[in-house]
Subunit: 136 residues, 4 copies
């Protein structure tokens, strides 16, 4: 299992008139946390795109347990439970507030795609090598 | 069954560098479409909030089938398959492009909550009366 | 002078915890209104990009007079006071609510750029021909 | 003069199909940077709102010099050139990329308002005391 953790401070722009973070904005928090998780491995999603591999999202599932508020310093966990064996990768994501209360749980499915041909591909070997050690 | 349909034009702001609508922005499209669905019934979500009933989102599920592009005139369908009997309401949502291709499928679960006490409540009777006729 | 007008309904996502439209979101309203203004001329910004001309924003100026609220049906005016003679074009924009109160005033400067070479260019002649009639 | 500096990593969601940060999103970067500038003083904007003072934006001016790109680690500077003497406060803001190139320049005017009465007020004395030392 591979797990990474990132901190994100809630912006005023991200709240709505219910005085909480707008539910649609968690997709951005998850995305930023996945990018940091990959960076932790010594790789970047940006590099992957530059090499011609893009990762479109194919499924997003979010359960909202408790609200996040303006200026909260959130901890976003990104968990990879299984090493991808084909074009599909699934991340679990959890959002905690400063009191370590679980606010939101997410599951995001992405595909590895060749940006040129738009055909399914697999995780670049340079990234796979870095991540494999976590699954031994 | 109650079904409503709304059109939304994709803004430049809503695209990302993959040249498609950013996946997190569909939450906004769904929200705007639900608001129009309620308006079709001669009621507004704004009125409901003014009366002290808010509807926080508790679950969001999205499947991305085909991408939406800048300036696409999308059709967002909002479908209520079952009349709510308690504090929970579940909407099905579908996004189509101008060629009537299905782009995205969503399922959104919301609760009726008393804004004052933050306790679970039920659909306001004024709205329930309007919507019941679709389920006879 | 060329003037066009578009209607935009405020989304819940666009409000913040001050119970008003977040100030940064007016950039999107202005953008959507400019796109509709060009469409009124029988042309689209999308077509322009497809032809290799992009229009990056170089200046944005906004004055906030009164707040916009959730579910307001805003009227966004886009005004071109002068016909562009080089790579620069300047739009004036005004936002009104349903009571015809002026909420926001904007001024946006854009450049015509060749997307390939990233050099300054001029308004495509097909669009210029359509717009010239308003300045006679 | 009071000056503070914050780092913000560009999210994928913040890019558009021109492969740059959407111009409207700088308002959020400026907002987040102002919040960190106030936090540097040992105070928070959140505390101020809790005490009944809100700071609506009344003017936003942005000049876009060079684009920001996905995954750029931006430095946002927040500069207060003059100590506010009434309800009005004006911040200067600058965005730099990792190569220390100046990307964007902003000027934001806000008012101190009593959230209860919605009348103009002045900077809370607790914050004023902290900030005054920078102007001696």
């Amino acid at each position: 299992m591979f797990e990474a953790s990132t901190k994100i401070r809630v912006r005023y722009a991200e709240t709505d008139q219910m005085d909480v973070v707008y539910h649609g904005n968690y997709a951005q928090y998850f995305e930023a946390a996945r990018a940091e998780a990959i960076r932790d491995l010594g790789y970047t999603y940006k590099d992957m795109e530059a090499m011609g591999v893009i990762m479109p999202i194919v499924e997003l599932h979010v359960k909202y347990i408790r609200p996040a508020h303006y200026d909260d310093l959130l901890t976003i966990k990104t968990i990879l439970k299984e090493l991808p064996t084909d074009h599909r990768i699934e991340f679990h994501q959890e959002v905690y507030n400063e009191k370590e209360k679980l606010l939101t749980v997410g599951r995001v499915v992405l595909y590895f795609m060749n940006a040129e041909t738009m055909e399914k591909t697999v995780m670049p070997s340079a990234l796979l090598e870095k991540i494999e050690s976590y699954f031994k």
